[in-house]
Symmetry: C2
Subunit: 423 residues, 2 copies
């Protein structure tokens, strides 16, 4: 073969590779190429939704005393063994304990102490008899009709969390209950991952700012606002760079600026036919840039670009807001969560399972994302595909989430169990 | 009957009524007694999660031009009627339209224009033939193998939203897609309901601030932080008033202050045995106060108080954080959302349906809330009851949500379909 022919074949193979779409699974393999953001210390009241950057170890036993879970009488369980309605045990009441009291007396066999829910068991007591199972003879004597086992109606010292136990793990998202636990262990400040700072650039000569009235053929900049909002939901901080005209210099300048200031950059519009070349050109001209993905086998969202510029991810999202939302939800958000320190094990987002309300067809060789609305009929949750042309924004307004139809299926039948990715 | 006896019977009936628990359905009937908060105007970028205080009407057609949804050729559909692979139509290419172009030519029968996805149809065109269904003869002629119907592969002018259409309704929560739509219609600022301001008071002599090391029998203030976090999730703004000692004057003072500054007040701890009386006393002493509910037939969470003080709701939540979380989630949050203007029709929170992983028993006459963890096995979502004594905080950390077992059931069987209220 002539050297010229070899050269042509090589170029052809490279081009083919360049236009080959990547599967979503392969895209996720690049996740580990991007380092986590740094950490910071924030006051406890401001930790909602943040990601723990260190394990949390308890500094006290919780509870730090054996506590009654009922209103009743604290006893030694052995004092009640074998009792019944017909043959009660008679116990002497030594005192009374309300929640917050610190009993100064102790009890032994044949003795009891009146106790409130949450009250501290006096020394010697190991169980609580419910108020319903005793009779009061006089001020100092009760009869007990029901036996209790040691530990019954009692939370033991350290039963919830023991001192020096790891109670929350690094990488966990802080919900109200985790915040409460941080308070329980005296964390006035908490070590968390910084919120990833995400730059957002819109492109397209037909796009005008929100404060302008669009001329015929123009459209206001929807993507900047939608994507910023998605970034907030994903735990990031959006920084918006406005609209870049379809010119190499303008785009290159905005990209350079965003990359310098952010942990990740999202450009929308640049991957569709009109402006795709400018995005690729501008990205390729940035120092230390590699195009990792140029096309993902999903629909909508195929013309998506993922590049690595230095240590940072740079995404080219489709220009149409519906496609951009889908790509963000299924691909970009996991990358933001990952650099933001969220542990995959700690993702406690509830999964939603529903039944498909009608047959849906799908192309093989790609994942199809179908917008669905959730409706409940007689306790069964149905995922109802939202009708209408795929590019229409109102399909997103009407939808509660997405369902995925896998690469190897031609569709799903009515009644099929589906997992819904909520919006 | 003697007047004295009548008086005694009346007092007894009143007392009985006072201690009668209220069903959750009855509690919700009080919702309309509390007026909505005011409205305010906020810049578009800050509208995430806010509630629209007015309908949004479109000021433009969206799209404002007939747009291609495919790469291909814009044609008059009639030019393609009856064509096939064996008998194609031959059309003359009049020009080319990229996304963002404003075509200055028109086409007629027998003519076509190359068009990109998102491109504006030239005058005269009413459909698009996909690039896959044509063959290029030379620079100015194509052959078309497949017929198209009028409107095929085209989004018509105003098809997404027509000018002067109501596109979003008052009371709707703003998600990323709604924010995008507000941008599309040029709303630089948006009229939304104010975030309800919710005062939070902790009570209990055994509760110490987070920055103190608890002595034996004491516990740090978990509730303030957990409840504040729940308020944020419910769309409110928490204002914390710290810990009130179990003394009438202290509690009365804090309650008065919180009621003056907030739209609703939540006091936790004051409804449990030890401090319940102080809460009722302090509430009753406030001007224009009515106790509406004293006990709800739910578990956990029975000792809950709801009072109306002037126009404002005042809740006494159980002291234990687990019970407080449950009451907040099932009862308080809907009240906050309601005064915050959220329309019940517009609640687009996905419902989660799962199958119960084991039998669960329940008492009749009350709704039992069971903490569950969600796990997926072979595409089926299971709700697995979290084991452990009900008062333990770690049951909340492990849980993804709650399921309700109704007042008239004695339990649910393994495999039963349940609705999960996510945390």
């Amino acid at each position: 073969m002539s050297p010229a022919l070899v050269h042509i074949i090589e170029r052809y193979e490279n081009m083919k590779k360049f236009f080959e779409v990547t599967s979503l699974a392969q895209v996720f393999e690049y996740m580990s190429d991007f380092p986590l953001v740094g950490t910071e210390i924030v006051p406890l009241p401001e930790t909602d939704g943040r990601i723990l950057a260190a394990d949390i170890v308890s500094d006290v036993d919780l509870p730090d005393f054996a506590r009654s879970t009922m209103d009743g009488f604290a006893v030694q369980a052995a004092s009640t063994f074998g009792v019944s309605e017909g043959s009660p045990a008679y116990l002497t009441v030594k005192g009374s304990v309300d929640m917050g009291d610190h009993p100064v007396f102790s009890i032994t066999t044949g003795e009891a102490a009146r106790i409130s829910t949450g009250g501290m068991l006096p020394e010697g007591a190991d169980a609580v008899v419910m108020i319903e199972h005793i009779g009061e003879i006089d001020g100092t004597t009760i009869e007990v009709y029901r036996s209790v086992a040691p530990g019954q109606h009692v939370v033991e010292k350290g039963e919830d969390f023991g001192k020096e136990e790891i109670v929350l793990c690094c990488g966990q998202k802080i919900r109200p209950q985790e915040k409460g636990l941080l308070a329980a262990f005296g964390r006035e400040t908490v070590d968390v991952y910084q919120k990833p700072v995400i730059g957002i650039i819109s492109t397209g000569d037909e796009v005008v700012p929100v404060n302008e009235f669009p001329a015929s053929g123009q459209i206001r900049d929807i993507n900047t606002y939608t994507i910023a909002s998605l970034v907030i939901k994903a735990g990031g901080v959006p920084v918006t760079y406005g609209i870049a005209r379809d010119e190499f210099e303008v785009l290159f300048e905005k990209c350079s600026q965003a990359l310098a200031q952010c942990d990740m950059v999202l450009i929308s519009g640049g991957s569709s036919v009109g402006t795709r070349d400018f995005t690729i050109e501008a990205l390729s001209a940035l120092p230390d840039a590699t195009i990792l993905v140029h096309g993902i086998s999903i629909s909508p969202g195929k013309p998506t670009i993922l590049a690595k510029v230095g240590p940072k991810a740079f995404w080219g999202l489709p220009g149409h807001v519906v496609s951009a939302m889908v790509v963000f939800t299924v691909a970009v958000q996991p990358f933001i969560e990952n650099i933001g320190g969220l542990s995959p094990q700690a993702k406690n987002e509830p999964k939603i399972s529903a039944r498909l309300s009608r047959n849906v067809s799908s192309a093989q060789g790609r994942i199809d994302y179908i917008r669905v609305r959730l409706t409940e009929t007689k306790g069964v949750l149905w995922a109802e595909p939202v009708l209408g042309k795929s590019g229409l924004i109102h399909t997103m307004i009407k939808a509660d989430g997405l369902i995925a139809i896998g690469e190897n299926t031609e569709g799903l039948d009515k009644g099929a169990e589906v997992q819904v990715i909520p919006f």
